[in-house]
Subunit: 294 residues, 4 copies
């Protein structure tokens, strides 16, 4: 599942007009679901009003593209998070994802469950998932223990986005989840090894840029072709490294998206800055060498 | 300078009616300035709309109490932070304080200066200070280097709230500041030793609960009475420890404020929870033994 | 490759008499190489004199069992580490592994290469590998960059033991290594996914307790049986978790080794303590449920 | 109290011949006690044999200079640490200091007390102190809680060297200690503020280079001259910063010692490297500007 970018104009206003084209591009690539408002979507930099308009735009295109719309509602003061959760249920989003509190950070499994429960209660009819991304949130609670307790206490707690390279903990999370819950990997360089462990879904920026490659990796693992899975993962990992040496995640990936797809996602939201033209050219040249683009 | 609490009703709505009484209590205790919206004020949990109303209430009472109103505008998505900064200038707040970005965290002196510059530009007529509190923000940039660069690049950058126990770095920050800039310590257990080093201002919850004690510590250092400064600091530190063993900062301090002053600041904002009645009684009993309350 | 335990008597003296039987047990299980003096072997708690005697004992049994003897020489003051490296070359160990400096820790790729170079120069005829285990050493240098630089500067630098759950960095290390260099995974819960990525060797305590299971996992990946690899890895991971809930690594694994193999490896070295009999029984019962022991 | 350097020849052998002159220099400067084998003394890089010879040399000069000899015995495998502790008691050292275990690190107050108890039991007739230096040891146990428990369990536990800039925790440690126990600050840039809080002893490299300045700071606090204490501390802190911008602690301080005192302490022990001549000249020039040297 791709976490969608929020297209911006050069003056940092949101470019809603790109969204229908973007949705069509994804649907044509075989994508069935999108995450709106994740790290890639930079909703942690937007006002509640703008977040709602972006949600509206995606809910609207979902009607023609049949995309499942998951919305990440966290990364803002709690009262705004609750407002967004309730809004999502009202306007017809399909599921929610939430970051933990970013300032008064939870320091235990229980205080993290408390927070997710508040969000889940604000949208009781929607499945709610937790967004584990300790590199950004600096919240490092034991996830298997959290999943078990959240499942017991929150009826609509339905899974986790696990953005961590620790697949040992990831496998434990997978074992802790019930049948009606989902686990999404958030580490694009580990799609193949995670799939071997049974973690077969992922939410990664890669699904915007290289949806075919990501799907081919999953398919190779599925049909027991280890050598193929390894080789495709290596290509994908090198394509990602071509970006990561040039700067922070969103600026490099917005540049990469324009290079690869031609869709005008524009600059990152403030306070982040676009990468230079030289960096963009270096990425393009490496992707060409990897034969990922022509 | 006290960072003021945001008084809440039991249903977590804001109890604006307490603010005039609260302001009068502080003014009567000799307080000349307050910080609205800091950690103690929990604005990182409130919507922009509520933050503005709280700011309005304090700007209004400033007219009768002559308090300087400093407002902390950070801890929210950047577009909200900029909106708040611009609002503060419009409605007549006296100075601004800002946290760093909490999600797309700065990883260098330069990216932190970039952020503070965006905030400062949104309120060009106000002095803007940076709120260094790495224990909460998890942003650990070298402060002396930051101060030097921010001073060079941002005309209205006017200082720092330094909430860290590292007085060695604190003394370096003090040396890096110019005459028209200010440094506020944010560590209530270190008021006396910081004053010895020349850091004579502080913003701490203590100034709400024990304004006399905090002022007496500064006065003792000023008149070279080291033994008295040590003894008063010990009393204050033990009073604070009486609270900290009972839970997180805001819940314990809101309880302490009600015990000591009788002002109804109410429960903490969600997601934080009030401490138990038993904990409240233990605090009260210890404060009595310290002869801080009757 | 198993990192061998150092068998102790109950009075914490070394029980050399167990070593021949232990070596035979491993050779019978198909093991070709052992690591002496790793974390499992607790040489970081032993005097240089004792370390040398343990090395002697293993070099001696290697003559009858044909085992390759790799010795970990780090985790002591540098002059002792150099003494041990030189001793190993003299007495006929086959290869060396070294931890980084534990007190004056390297803070850059270059200072880490400096350290490994000193060790490598003390045993110029032996292959020398670096032991990356940031959870214990607290040395967190970027490994792909280190490997590249160490390879350029140190003729007998021949690889890495990578004890980290971050397989994304692990795959980068693998790509950075030359043909005559080796990479050993040190994460027993990730043998299968690492093998998928091409990391096909491992040094893990598991190879002492469950050599068959570990080999079966590698074989399943090799013959493209993903489902089997997943299922065997899950069994192994659950077997390890049966231990890890009971205490720190060496005490639990020494207990597990006695349960599984009957070889008397004894208590851990001081300052570590053996686990309780109750904990030992819980481990035994869980291993029985997993059908790993009868 | 100065933590003494270990004088080295250019070939990294120990230059024992400098020790009598060095001891006389310190005694002449009014020094009553020295710490042998601390971070400054780099015993964490030496073999047990060399450590014993250095201890012998200091115990010998103590007879003519009347210096109290405290020896730091940690930073090596536990069996060596115990050997050193017992040796110190035998040859007549006056007190011991010990680092925590550096590899199998304590993860709780209890496991840290266990370790210090083993060391204290090896030298039951000597006062034993704990060396808290989390920046190097990466052991970050709550010190007030540790002190309380160690005091209860270990008869000859007699205090702490507190090498941390967190004077809030430092003041808590001071309150937790009994009358017959000592606390030494290990932060040279905080001598004055610590003295205000009642922490009046310190073990810092400064006492080697600038014994007069350090003593003058303590005296100024003692006679209630806050302005003088601040000004002297600022001079000392700037003198230290003149060094710290040039490299790691021991290499810069060995250079500074030669500049200031003329005593040939030589290069640092491997794996550390001496600073360049240019760096040495920059330090010298800054010290001259501060009028600390002629």
């Amino acid at each position: 599942m791709p976490p969608v970018f929020t297209p911006l104009n050069d003056d940092h206003t949101i470019n809603y007009s790109v969204i229908p084209e973007y949705a069509k591009y994804l649907a044509n690539a075989g994508i069935k679901s999108v995450l709106v408002g994740g790290t890639t979507g930079e909703h942690m930099s937007l006002s509640v009003g703008d977040r709602k308009k972006v949600i509206d735009a995606w809910v609207k295109v979902a009607k023609t593209t049949d995309l499942h719309i998951q919305v990440q509602v966290g990364g803002a003061p709690l009262s705004d998070v609750l407002d967004l959760a309730s809004y999502c249920q009202k306007v017809g989003a399909d599921s929610l994802l939430t970051l933990p509190e970013l300032y008064f950070k939870p320091d235990s499994v229980d205080t993290l469950v408390d927070y997710v429960e508040l969000v889940a209660n604000a949208a009781p009819n929607l499945p709610v998932l937790y967004y584990h991304i300790p590199s950004m949130s600096k919240v490092e609670i034991n996830m298997p223990a959290f999943v078990t307790k959240a499942t017991n206490r929150i009826p609509n707690f339905k899974g986790i986005k696990f953005t961590s390279n620790d697949l040992s903990e990831g496998a434990q999370v997978l074992r802790a989840l019930k049948n009606d819950q989902e686990m999404f990997l958030g580490a694009d360089t580990l799609i193949a090894p995670a799939a071997l462990l049974g973690i077969k879904s992922s939410i990664g920026t890669t699904w915007n840029l290289f949806p075919r490659l990501a799907q081919d990796i999953l398919d190779a693992v599925e049909r027991n072709d280890v050598a193929k899975a390894r080789s495709l993962q290596e290509t994908l990992s090198l394509a990602i490294e071509a970006h990561t040496v040039e700067g922070p995640w969103v600026p490099i990936m917005k540049a990469g998206m324009e290079i690869v797809s031609g869709i005008k996602v524009g600059p990152p939201s403030l306070p982040q800055k676009p990468i230079t033209d030289e960096a963009r050219k270096r990425i393009e040249s490496k992707l060409r060498k990897l034969q990922i683009i022509d």
